[in-house]
Amino acid sequence: MRRLRYSYHMELTFELPVNEHHFKLRCFPSSDERQKISYTRIEIYPQHFSTEEPDSFGNMCIFGTARQSHERFSVDVEGTAEIDASGQVAAIPSKTGIFKYETALTKAGKTIREFHRSLDPMNWMTGYERTVYMMNELYPEFRYVPGVTGILTSAEDAFRLRRGVCQDYAQILLALCRLERIPCRYVAGMIPGEGATHAWIDVCDGGVWRGIDPTHNRECDDTYIKISGGRDAQDCAINQGVFYGGGKQTQTVKVIVKIM
Amino acid sequence: MSVLSRENCERLFWLGRYSERVYTGLRDFMEKFDAMTGSPSAGEYAKHFCFDSNNPDSVSFSLMRAYDNAIVLRDETGTETFSYIQLAVYEMKNAAKSAAPLLPLQKVIDNIAAFWGMADDRIEDEKVRGIIKLGKRIERVDLYARMNADKEDIRREVRRLSYRIGRAGLSYSTEGLSRINALAECEEIDRAGIVREVEALITFAE
């Protein structure tokens, strides 16, 4: 059991004023068997109308509309998390099947398929063990280099570059698992330190979701705070918004997690 | 009372304006075309001012704009009323191919007249009816002022517009309307002034 304090800040700045801004935010960790979340602050700027509603993956979302003209849009979320790494998050069978299938971002192309063929797992391994095995094999083949990939880069494109960030590690491993129809999901979250959000994957192991982090080549421990889960990074997008005007936009995210 | 979107208000207004532009424009064209009988440039003239639907000054162009508005107003005007605009389009196409274009063009006029009659008779909603008519009246004053129509004709059309304008339920400039009336009563009519004022009479709120 570990207690963490987190703060999450996302800010969008626009070159020109935005008038009507419809947003759907997905950056609110929620409690489950593994993590107990409390909030000390949720603040959205500018003034707006909004409501809460979970999406179909169970992620808490706040959606709304800011009609007043603005050049900046921001969200601040702060609170504490109590993590119990042994807490078992059940994989509901009727909600698990979908995670066996590739999406546009996790579709294995030629390069990932070739790599997959080169692997030689033991046939007695469970799905979870195979995933850990594939993670171990993937780790030396890929380098953590920020700035070469973007949020819409697919697993295949990233793997062809052999470089990328946590989102790419996670999506490549998902693509590999899905070639074997192992149910696995993308997780967006936070880990101790200062910087951006982190991403890893959950693998269904005997009816329970277990987290592994391919970027660090390790199993997730009690320092991982989950924000959202889905089939790929797009399902976990922090904000899906539409607005009128605005010109060029810049998004910055700042996450601070401290062990208490 | 029905609910009418702002877009449909504007479309009804322009349907009225363009149908009038076709009607008055064609009557004018037919007269001039007849006067040119025997002239070698008659064909060119007809092509340019009547049938060239890419020329914004042609009758055909106005008719196609009337059609563009009518086709998206089927639910407001009803299929039966709409059909007269559609028929006018077909007749215009026939006229463009005909060696004696005035005969099918007369049918275009007939269909526009029938469209107005049907709109008046068949459209139950007073506002929908009123906006089409207002568009027609505004366009009439505008055209007459531009076309050097007789003073008395302009005064008559200004009176008809003044009578009609309050019944469409759209907001309009009352000062503008009195200025148009004053301009029309002058001995020497300021035609450009009337055009300017009448174009500014109605504004569709954002």
Binding site: F49, E53, I98, Q240 | R6, F82
Partner: protein
């Protein structure tokens, strides 16, 4: 009954009337928009009462099962758990939408308006060809054609007892009202450049539902409103939307979409507005899922299917793959992702080389294709005005089933025919024509 020959002389005049009323469909060719008349054939398809009752039984049963299926795959997914349908066919297509998982639409109706395509074989047997549960179109055409035929040849309608099909607008209105959550019913059109714009505006005129585009609608304080010219807002309770799922709401579906009503999907999830048809219905009208509809009927309704599918093979199953490879030349292969008469390949039409290439593709992507026996269509006569006589053509039949508390089958339908004597393709986008369908009262 026999085909009423008294109608022949009116072939031209009914087509003229259709032109007069602007009964057209839009089509893009090389990027240019054109409105085209939909050629009408004066000879109706006639379905005797007894035969229609049989079709009605089969169609109601099918639509009930399809509705159950959609409800199931967006909730408990029992049909997958029980092994009736492999989950591959539910999840790996593009039809099942994750956003819709767990959503319960008003009155639990998903497919409010279903267009079921059938063909009749030479021996008279009917086969289901395709289920259209997203935005099936076409009912307006026989509806207005009937009106105009009655005007042209009243004696035919006086002498024969034909079910009146002009009640479609009332059926549609009732279907919207049945799920309306309070407020206006509207028809949402993508606009005048949509192929079926005539139908959208005609239905609006006849049902009294307001025809709207996305800009006319706004979501505020968790309800949907129609904005009128003065800025006044009126609540909307039912949207018969004629725009596809991906363009419905940019905040929840395709974020690149320039049209759509932001947040409409969220308030739909909360039960504040009805969307007809429900988003996500593509999960059930995919050509791969089609194969399983008879199994669905048995599974959900514990009944034997009244109407059969055309004999279909799923390349996903090894035994079917084997059969298809052995009988390739006598089959028609369909790409499950294509519609509108595209992506259809007749086995015997390929050269040896193309055939080998295509078989490689089948083996590489078995989930992408289905194969069907070529049905020996019963030809149906059309009246050839120039020759002044009847000539046979291929035709299909789209039946419309509207869902209220119980499914209702419209006593008519759209019969489409191929104008080219050698063609099997009847789609209007590929130059086909249409007929009225008469259901006899006795």
């Amino acid at each position: 009954m026999a085909i009423p020959e008294e109608l022949y002389p009116y072939s031209g005049s009914v087509n003229e009337l259709l032109a007069r009323y602007g009964v057209k469909f839009g089509i893009y060719k090389n990027g240019v928009f054109n409105e085209q008349l939909f050629p009408f054939d004066i000879i109706p398809r006639i379905i005797e009462r007894r035969e229609f009752e049989y079709l009605e039984r089969g169609l109601k049963q099918r639509v009930k099962a399809l509705n159950e299926f959609i409800r199931d795959v967006y909730s408990d997914k029992k049909i997958i758990a029980d092994g009736v349908i492999p989950e591959d066919f539910v999840y790996s297509g593009s039809g099942w939408l994750a956003q819709c998982d767990g959503v319960n639409p008003p009155q639990n109706i998903y497919s409010h308006i279903s267009g079921i395509d059938l063909v009749q074989a030479k021996n008279g047997e009917w086969f289901i060809l395709e289920d259209n549960l997203r935005i099936p179109s076409g009912a307006s055409y026989p509806m207005i054609a009937r009106e105009l035929c009655r005007r042209s040849a009243p004696s035919v309608f006086a002498e024969n007892r034909i079910e009146d099909n002009r009640n479609y607008a009332q059926l549609l209105r009732r279907t919207m009202d049945y799920v309306n959550t309070g407020g206006l019913s509207v028809i949402l059109t993508p606009g005048r450049f949509n192929a079926a714009y005539f139908e959208h505006s005609y239905f609006a005129e006849l049902t009294g539902a307001r025809l709207v585009t996305c800009e006319d609608l706004v979501v505020e304080d968790e309800h949907l409103y129609f904005k009128d010219y003065s800025g006044k807002k009126e609540q909307v309770g039912a949207v018969y939307r004629r725009i596809s799922d991906e363009y419905l709401d940019p905040v929840n579906f395709n974020r690149e979409s320039l049209i759509g009503v932001p947040h409409v999907f969220e308030i739909y999830k909360k039960g504040r507005v009805a969307l007809l048809n429900a988003p996500g219905n593509g999960a059930a009208d995919d050509k791969g899922i089609y194969y399983f509809v008879p199994a669905m009927i048995r599974y959900y309704l514990h009944e034997d299917p009244v109407l059969n599918n055309a004999p279909t093979y799923l390349l996903y199953y090894e035994r079917d793959m084997k059969y298809v490879l052995e009988h390739f030349d006598s089959l028609v292969i369909k790409d499950v992702a294509e519609a509108g008469g595209y992506g259809i390949i007749f086995g015997d039409s390929l050269s040896a080389e193309k055939k080998a290439e295509f078989i490689d593709l089948l083996k590489a992507e078995p989930r992408r294709f289905i194969a069907q026996e070529v049905i020996d269509f019963k030809d149906i006569d059309i009246f050839d005005g120039e020759a002044g006589k009847r000539v046979p053509r291929k035709a299909d039949f789209r039946a419309f089933v509207l869902m209220n508390d119980e499914p209702v089958v419209w006593k008519s339908g759209l019969t489409r025919f191929s104008r080219n004597p050698d063609s099997f393709v009847v789609n209007s986008s590929q130059g086909g024509g249409f007929k009225d369908t008469w259901v006899m009262e006795e």
